[in-house]
Amino acid sequence: MFDDEGMDEIRQIFLEESTEGLEVMESGLLELEPGTADMETINNIFRAAHSIKGGGGTFGFIEVSDFTHWVETILDEMRSGERDVTEDGITLLLEAVDCLRGMMDSINAQSDYDTPRISALQARIVAVLNGEVDAGVPEAASSSDSPEPEVVDTEAYEPVAEAPVEAAQTVESVQPKKLEPSQPEAVIEEPAIATEEAPAAEKPEAASVPETKEVPAAEPAGKKEKASSDASGSSIRVNVEKVDSLLNLVGELVITQSMLGRFKKEFNIDDVSDLRDGLAQLESNTRELQESAMQIRMLPIKVAFSRFTRLVRDLSRSMGKKVKLELLGEQTELDKTVLEKIGDPLVHLVRNSLDHGIETVEKRLAAGKPAEGLLRLSAYHEAGNIVIEITDDGAGLNRDKILSKAIEKGLVSEDEQLSDESIYMLVFQAGFSTADKVSDLSGRGVGMDVVRRNIQDLGGRIDVLSEIGVGSKFTIRLPLTLAILDGQLVRVGGDTYIVPLLSIVESVFINPERVNVVANNQMLYRLREEFLPITDLRAICNGTYKNMALDVEELNDKLLVVIETAGKRYGLVVDDLEDQQQVVIKALENNYRHVSGLAGATILGDGSVSLILDIPSLAQRCFNNIDNTEQLESA
């Protein structure tokens, strides 16, 4: 449908602009209160719809502009006060937004539109416009009985059918304005093949599957170009201030460079202090430049949070619960990659809170709680990490129920003594669910383990706090960025490895008397009142993941790095600890491939390459034979 390469680019621009427009429309619609007419909000929605219609007309997506025209007409009537803002009206418009989003996906995937859905919805909108509204629409909105309204509306459709042509004409005069940047923002191309913003990410399969089918059809030569143009389609909007500060820093760097550069011509011993000053300046320039460059990739978490307004509205309606969503710290910034990957786990957690956490209105009233439940998403920075909390004032996690379920599933043995925290962590095990009834939302026991795994993949962790009848709180801690990591350098033999600081609990000198060897040559170390499984990092580095029986004598003078992953602690024996430093992660996949047990590599100050350990996967490989739950998980 779009062979031209120029068309490809235009398509990308249109899609990006429209995606933003749809977001504006959606958040605006969610802000609207039925019965009131908040002019500013309605105008915002109207403008967004108008831009999409205009863009569709200009770029040749007639179906989009036609459809949007009807949406716009409704909005226009609301704007002029001819039409009241009703709950049903908002729902219908939200459906229209979804439908448009589907059309954008089709355009992106270069597949055909979902015509029946579009025309059915369009017919309903037209019916509403013709005033046959109130009775028909709410029913049709929820049920999928398309034939009936369609018959009624095809007649109704005729009288107004000429409107789109007019609209397309007016659009042309609007076009030049549209191309000017409306905000002081620069678009910086990003090579990552990341998915688009939140809405597109919701249906990644839908968008990507048809595309891969399409590629073989094109001639082989075009294949590569197509891939690269798709990749360049992923861009981020960056505040001009950030770009300016980056430019300033580059300017400073140039000054420092020229200052140091003069020593190249001539250097005598008196210049040493100047040289030292220059190098110190270079160091601070470099650090600031690094921070500033990282800032460019930072986006407010609002991008991920915004979809929840809609999600919570829809879900709570369908479940017959009353839920108020509170968003705090929406401006907290985090890396784009982290942001994209945290979306799905958050959706799972929010759904979980809605389904299992917050009770129905009757139950809440019976328990003496306000009828409306509270779900709070908050984000803040803490010590180089971003913390995201999902809090609800629902029923809380039922400790005993979880425990009995876990025993039933064989995840823990009956006589095991577990702290409340470790019991709560059981909900993150694969196949675990305490829901009495499996609903379409949750309860199948998948989901929570995916949440934990996704968060672990991002190098973060999740904790649970809960009280029966009062509510529960899930706390996610994530590194701000995936590109830089706080690492502890450890020496093993002649090599230096990096252990992510986030997973280190403490480091202790080994006292050989506290080492016990149990079955399978597994060694345990008694640290205070706890027994930790330990292994020699050297065994890992030799590629022998088996737990070797270490010569206890040899452990003298060595250190034990205590690591924590998935709520469990282990010990790694190392020869020595070196510096702690921030390291830039270089993926091994760039030039080689993923190596299990390694999170990547980095280049140290002396230019040598050092490998970064992937603690969760290492722990699983080294210790799984003594760890029932881990074994179950990998089975």
Binding site: N591, V595, S608
Partner: protein
Amino acid sequence: MNQDQVQQAGGIDLNPDALQFLTFILNGEEYGVDILKVQGIQGWSKVTPIPNTPDFMLGVINLRGAVVPVVDLRKRFQLDEVNYGPTTVVIVVKVSGDEGERVVGMVVDAVSEVYNVDAREIKPSPSFSGSISTEYIRGLSMIENKMVILLEIDSLVNAGVLDLVPSELVV
């Protein structure tokens, strides 16, 4: 850009069939690599070994800020091992494959020459038992009365080296 454009742009007489190959010695045989794939040649420097990889994967080095794997072609093709020393040479090549472009260093015995080869003069390779399997060979060329084996470097490095996983993963 097609060949005509190249000629116009550079004003140089370019025969579309003229190719250049950098040759290296491995186990007494001379192999050629398309020079456009060669990023550089460098001496032996210490590598950081990667656990849990095949033995011919020597490890990774820092190549101007990029982490680049280094492979030993002798070990890969089960030839007698030689010790690495000051004369050991690493040819850095950039290959393209399904995973995109990858930069890899290959340890060889020595670097030999750069030859001009006319594409039409390349003879298909007969089945023969050289050090490197024939599936990675593009053809043979006679240069100054000696035979040079021209390599299909993309498939050699991608399928033949990087994508090989260790046969027995110790679990």
